[in-house]
Amino acid sequence: MIFEEHASLQRKLQILSDAAKYDVACTSSGVSRPGRKGELGNTEASGICHSFSGDGRCISLLKILFTNECIYNCKYCINRVTNDLPRATFTPEEICELTMEFYRRNYIEGLFLSSGIIQSPDYTMELIGKTLHDLRTIHRFNGYIHCKAIPGASPELVEMVGWYADRMSVNLELPTTQGLKNLAPNKSRKSILTPMRQIQSGMEESRKLLGMKGGNRSAYWHTSKRLGRILPGTEALSGSTPASLEQREQKKDMVSEKKEEEELQLPGKAQAGGLTQWNRRDTSRGFVPAGQSTQMIIGASGETDYEIMAVSEALYQRFDLKRVFYSGFINVNQDASLQALEGKPAKLREHRLYQADWLLRYYGFAAEELLSKKRPNFNVFLDPKCDWALGHMEQFPVEINRADYNMLLRVPGIGVKSAQRICAARQTGPLDFPHLKKMGVVLKRAIYFITCNGRLMYDFLKMDEDYITRSILGEDQAVLKNFGQQDIQYRQLSLFDDWKRAEG
């Protein structure tokens, strides 16, 4: 192993950003904090991307590890102890300098600080805490800071970091406990969920006593509130609906999922102990005002999409997470115990999971609506929403001028913004298809599922599952020609046959 103790700042930055690149939970959203006199920086609730790297991913924060030395030996991780690669460690001063100078030039929105484990979780967490402390108090940095909570670190240290950071995340690493046991022998589900619970209850306490401090609630929370759903573990948002009762009935016969949910139920607040450092810390930003997120690796331990979505849903419901990130597995270590992959990460699968994640958080879908035990994986050829709609043709077509907001959201081709615009515009007069196009509705998707003033867009459209599937997959060119969609790539017939087989 090569220790580069006296490496230049440039060399260290190269090693430690290279080592951090696989981390995907790197957003700068969730809190809106105006600038302060004499301090550098502010934050925007929407988050700001400052550049896009060669892989097309956004660069928002200075994403680095404090060190890539690590005492652990997680099989999927490039920085595991048994790997022979150049190792380096920043000093807190170097990280502060890079953050401040990059921020001034508008290269970045703030700092994302993760780390390998040196000596012990506590020691590592303390170094991270020292860096954040210096950045906030000595350099007077008021921009965004996203920081990892190290599983196994003591609650005092996690709390200290929480007072300086905007967002924290604890990586779930793998969707199932078994996967974690096999691939990350030094970590346990419990050591991961404990800090997550602590941060959650700390945030609640801080909100109660200090207010939101510019932070916002998660999209999942807002959606649940709109639909009148009760989130387990939190106060009732409003009355229960028959739908949620029905879902609970369904859950009874899903044994594996139940088990998964029990895993995610930790001894709650009693263990968390509440915030204890009110007097010692600057409380003007609140405690983790931008909320917490997590990430898991997809495709390393053989779990189904259904299991993954059930875990995500449980995390949103029970841990009040802002986001769950999915990271298509790249076998960087060529480890024999990991699923053999052709070098390419499972990008399409990842994409489908993100689409479904959005359906959970913004569109009010439940994981069980999208997948089931019998059909545990997403359709590769159709997005999850379209797939759902085709399986529920009895609910369509939807009349644009009358349907309620929640039903509009379920139409393929209509998103949150266009549904809002439709609801606003129809108060002033009836809508027709050309109007929808201007509002941002993706008509080539939506035409099969909607009527305007009782009319379908074309008389020849059929409300038939097979017909629509074929059309959407690009076979029925007549429909697309009418739209002048020359840039659509028509797929071969054989593809459709494949899809049929996959379904059957």
């Binding site: 440039q10 990059f102 201007k438």
Partner: protein, 261 residues
């Protein structure tokens, strides 16, 4: 007999456009027969044979009257949308603003929702253009430090629409302890900010513009560090240049050091 179209030609500024709106409205000629045309300086339009042309001189008082009336009779939001449209590089903007105000007087504040009406659609589109481009520049503006005392941060941009006034406040808040200049090469104006006095926007003389443009070189130490980071953080197994280009179109890159050689 068919009534002649009457065209009000005005300066391409908020003041010019709203003066034309005022004159056109006062004329009671009939909205269906009125067109407005905003013309950049030194611009010569092909005249249409069967139209009547009226030149409008900008008048600050008339502009203020229009803005005040719109805010009182329609809504503040509509007022802001109109101002936003006036900064958009679209030829039909003066005409759109005029007819949008006419619709607004008929419908009241709910006019913003009525996306069925073509004029409202255009206002909606232009607002989206401006806010989207302004957001791009909040993301992609790059500063370099000019070695002076105190150090001054300089950025050069070439936007399609005149978005400088929509990004100035953002950077003034964010970089409040800094001296900075954002120079808009396309519209020859610049924001100047100092910690004590805040910011202002000023039109530049051609010579000033040349001087500022000449100072842009990105030869700093931190540019190298930034490039190092930019390269290292990309995952080679996932390389996807099309996606990168979708998010970060090429025309922004000429003033971004990570894409320079």
């Amino acid at each position: 007999m068919k009534k002649k179209i009457r065209v009000y030609q005005c300066q391409d500024t908020l003041e010019g456009i709203l003066t034309a709106v005022y004159d056109a409205g006062k004329s009671r000629y009939g909205h269906d027969h009125i067109r407005l045309q905003a013309q950049p300086e030194g611009y010569h339009e092909n005249f249409n044979l069967f139209s009547e042309y009226i030149q409008v001189e900008p008048d600050r008082e008339k502009m203020e009257k229009v803005l005040r009336t719109v805010e009182e009779k329609i809504s503040r939001q509509v007022c802001q949308q109109i101002i936003c449209c006036a900064f958009c590089a679209q030829e039909d903007k003066a005409d759109v603003i005029y007819h949008y105000i006419v619709c607004g007087f008929a419908m009241g504040a709910k006019v913003v929702k009525a996306l069925q009406i073509p004029w409202v659609q255009r206002v909606f589109e232009m607002n989206r253009m401006i806010t989207n481009e302004a957001h791009y520049y909040r993301e992609f503006i790059r500063f370099q430090e000019l070695p002076q005392d105190p150090p001054v941060l300089l950025s050069v941009i070439e936007p399609k629409n005149r978005i400088l006034s929509f990004v100035a406040q953002h950077f003034a808040d964010r970089l409040n302890p800094e001296w900075f200049i954002i120079y808009d090469k396309a519209y020859q104006e610049a924001v100047f900010h100092s910690p004590a006095e805040g910011w202002y926007i000023r039109r530049l003389e051609p010579e000033e513009g040349r001087q500022l443009a000449a100072m842009e070189d990105y030869q700093e130490e931190y540019v190298d560090l930034w490039k190092t980071f930019f390269e290292a953080v990309s995952i080679p197994e996932r390389e996807n240049r099309d996606l990168q280009r979708n998010h970060l179109p090429l025309h922004f890159r000429s003033h971004m050091p990570e894409f320079g050689n």
